[in-house]
Amino acid sequence: MSAVVKIPTSLRGLTGGSSEVEVPAGRLGEVITNLTDTYPDLGERLLDEKGNLRRFVNVFVAEDDIRFLEGLETEVSSGQVVTILPAVAGG
């Protein structure tokens, strides 16, 4: 009963190079806690001091931005893909 978190290139240095990480399904907040327990440096990059998602990081559950779902309360079901998408500016 797990979900898959897709890690963008810019953050793979913090996940030992992994592009996908399997975590137990559940509330998005729990999914991210699970992820950052394993990769503590990633936590700092995704969350601010108060534990809120940083505004320059977008998180999608399946195809939808969690800001328009239930935020960190969004339910991530087994088999769903969570995409972390930071803004990139290169051109």
Binding site: S19, P86, A87, A89, G90
Partner: protein, 391 residues
Amino acid sequence: MSLSYQDLINEAKHEIPEIEPADLADLIGRVAIFDVRESDEYEQGAIATAKLLPRGLLEGAIDKHIDDPGEKIVVYCAGGARSALAAQTLTRMGYSNVSSLQGGFGRWKSDGHPWGLPEALSNDQRGRYSRHILLPEVGEEGQIRLLESKALIVGAGGLGSPAALYLAAAGVGTIGIVDFDVVDATNLQRQILHNLDRVGQSKVESARETLTALNPDVKIITYDERLSAENVLQIFSGYDVVVDGGDNFPTRYLVNDASVHLGIPVVHGSIFRFEGQVTVFEPYTGPCYRCQYPEPPPPELAPSCAEAGVLGVLPGVIGTLQAMEVLKILLGIGDTLSGRLLTYDGLSQEFRTLRIRRDPTCPACSDESHPPAIVEYDQFCTPAGVVARAG
């Protein structure tokens, strides 16, 4: 019994209704009009709302122009003979409401009804753009539309290079390019507008040389300056679409705010190492860049291509997708990426489409009656929460 040409015409005129020029003049805008003469006759003057469909092409192409066989159709030629035969054929094909203009274009003109010289392609252009013209979604009309369009490309770099090349090749008539930089040898791994002979030359001049050599139809307007709060509105004004191929966050927020201010769609592309993102920001109908990214990351978390590296072909993929969106916007065909973010991962060779939405609290686009004011960002970017708004 054999029939003479005159017999055929008499028979056709007997079978199909003819319409008086004055009656057609009253129907303009509510009827599909086809000019069935040859293109050289059409180019000398035609009814303004008529489409050229020479008799030789009529039967094969009519269904691309008419969906409902019951729609009112008027055909005309020079004097009313060829169009009578054309109307007869269309009627036999099941088009039930076809008439032929009595006396043809000659009588239309002598009766004093309005006509004009149609926008038409030259023979060279018909050759150059023939693969576009063959597409029913483009055709000669669409190609003329492209030639009359104006696209502005921000950045003559990795993304701007393929975008500019394809837009110039496609015959987008006016292409503006903004870049203050000069060509450097390290650019050539991906910035395919430039070459070794141009190292040290301004990028916009190098772009002009390359694009003019590719397609002299295209007017290139160069802006050899850094985009800033002072010049952005003036530079953007008058363009139909902006291609964002910038390489830093301050420029991207500036491009966004100016395009929202002026109501110009932006085709956005951005890249990092092996990954890219493409979308279309359509002011006030879809999300804008600030809806998507309310705040830029701090500089230490957002290394540039110069710092982080980029696989050279990646901007080729993303910039080409941007060119595709530009042509769709200019032609009004297909579904653009407005409201959808296309992501590309070159290593896994995976495309994904994510839904993005307008943020009702967006500091730039939440209130159409108050477009954002244009403010300068330093390299650390003013936080989005304090974006100034015009009064």
